[in-house]
């Protein structure tokens, strides 16, 4: 079982993701430079956070054209698990692998804080064993994390079970006060129709050990490992 951690010019959470996978969860992980056209031999893909290409034009706009993204698309079409975190989420949106787009936070401020999430569905490889209603404490750090999709798309993804996480207060209430960036319907994470591609703004790799303030993020990577184990069994 081997996971790929993609590295673009400007990625800066790649080592955090690698550490969480390899040293905390204990699954094999390897960095994959964005010019690699293939992901053969990998069982899961992590697109980490950062500021690929300096966020020029739009966050993730240039990264979606990197050769490795063609491989990610093929990997995703075959049902392989892909998680995009923060800038990784933005790249997946720009690539059209996930619905919607990101705009600037409604506060116009870079938000860097712990937030609470409520799980909406456990149908993704990363949320198996994290049933709907589960509360997670996970940090965010972004300027363009204000999730946008038109009303028709929002209704469609809700109906198809593609909303995976919402921002909420510590008690699990989904309120506008607990929404750190103005995201439509407090959406913090979405998946594709098939459920194998997940994008989320909060950073599970930054909270996979108690010493970091929360280990809730580890649950997503543990779920991924369990899912892969079931698939190969």
């Amino acid at each position: 079982m081997k996971t790929a951690v993609l590295v673009f010019p400007g990625s800066n959470c790649d080592h955090d993701a690698y550490h969480a996978l390899k040293h905390v969860v204990g699954v094999d992980a390897e960095f994959v430079w964005h010019k690699q056209p293939s992901l053969d031999g990998f069982d899961a893909v992590v697109i980490p956070g950062g500021f690929t290409y300096g966020d020029y034009l739009r966050s993730g706009a240039m990264a979606k054209l990197s050769p490795v993204m063609g491989a990610v698309r093929r990997f995703a079409e075959r049902g392989g698990p892909v998680i995009g975190i923060c800038n990784g989420f933005q790249i997946l949106l720009e690539a059209g692998l996930l619905p919607g787009a990101m705009i600037v936070n409604d506060s116009l401020r870079f938000v860097c804080d712990y937030v609470h999430l409520v799980a909406v569905t456990d149908r993704t490889p990363f949320t198996r064993g994290v049933p709907a209603g589960t509360l997670l404490k996970i940090p965010v750090a972004h300027y363009q994390g204000n999730y946008y999709a038109d009303e028709r798309t929002l209704s469609a993804i809700e109906e198809r079970g593609q909303v995976v996480f919402r921002y909420c207060d510590p008690e699990g209430n989904v309120t506008s006060e607990s929404n750190p960036n103005g995201s439509a319907r407090n959406i913090a994470g979405v998946c594709n129709e098939a459920g194998n591609v997940l994008g989320m703004m909060p950073h599970p790799e930054r909270c996979s050990e108690e010493v970091l303030g929360s280990a809730d993020g580890r649950r997503l990577f543990d779920a991924m490992v369990a899912w892969l184990g079931e698939r190969t069994a």
Partner: protein, 80 residues
């Protein structure tokens, strides 16, 4: 061949930047500005191609990279 590309947020997409700029204008004593929408302006220089071909190529560039049509719309002006 020169071209101009204007990329703007679609109507209905919140523009917090434009809102903040608009809200600060009265501090300069400039009143009566109801709304400001911030967008991008790109000046493009192309090797000699016909106007139609330039527009075709730039339209593709806009659709696939320069604009995100989930949130933005674009306008291309050829020449000038």
């Amino acid at each position: 061949m020169k071209a101009k590309i204007y990329v703007t947020l679609k109507r209905g997409v919140l523009d917090p930047q434009g809102k903040a700029i608009r809200a600060s204008l009265p501090q300069l004593g400039i009143d009566g500005v109801e709304e400001i929408r911030v967008g991008k302006f790109m000046e493009v220089t192309m090797r000699e191609v016909g106007a139609d071909e330039a527009r075709r190529r730039l339209d593709e560039a806009c659709r696939r990279l320069l604009a995100n049509t989930v949130i933005e719309e674009y306008r291309i002006e050829i020449g000038g």
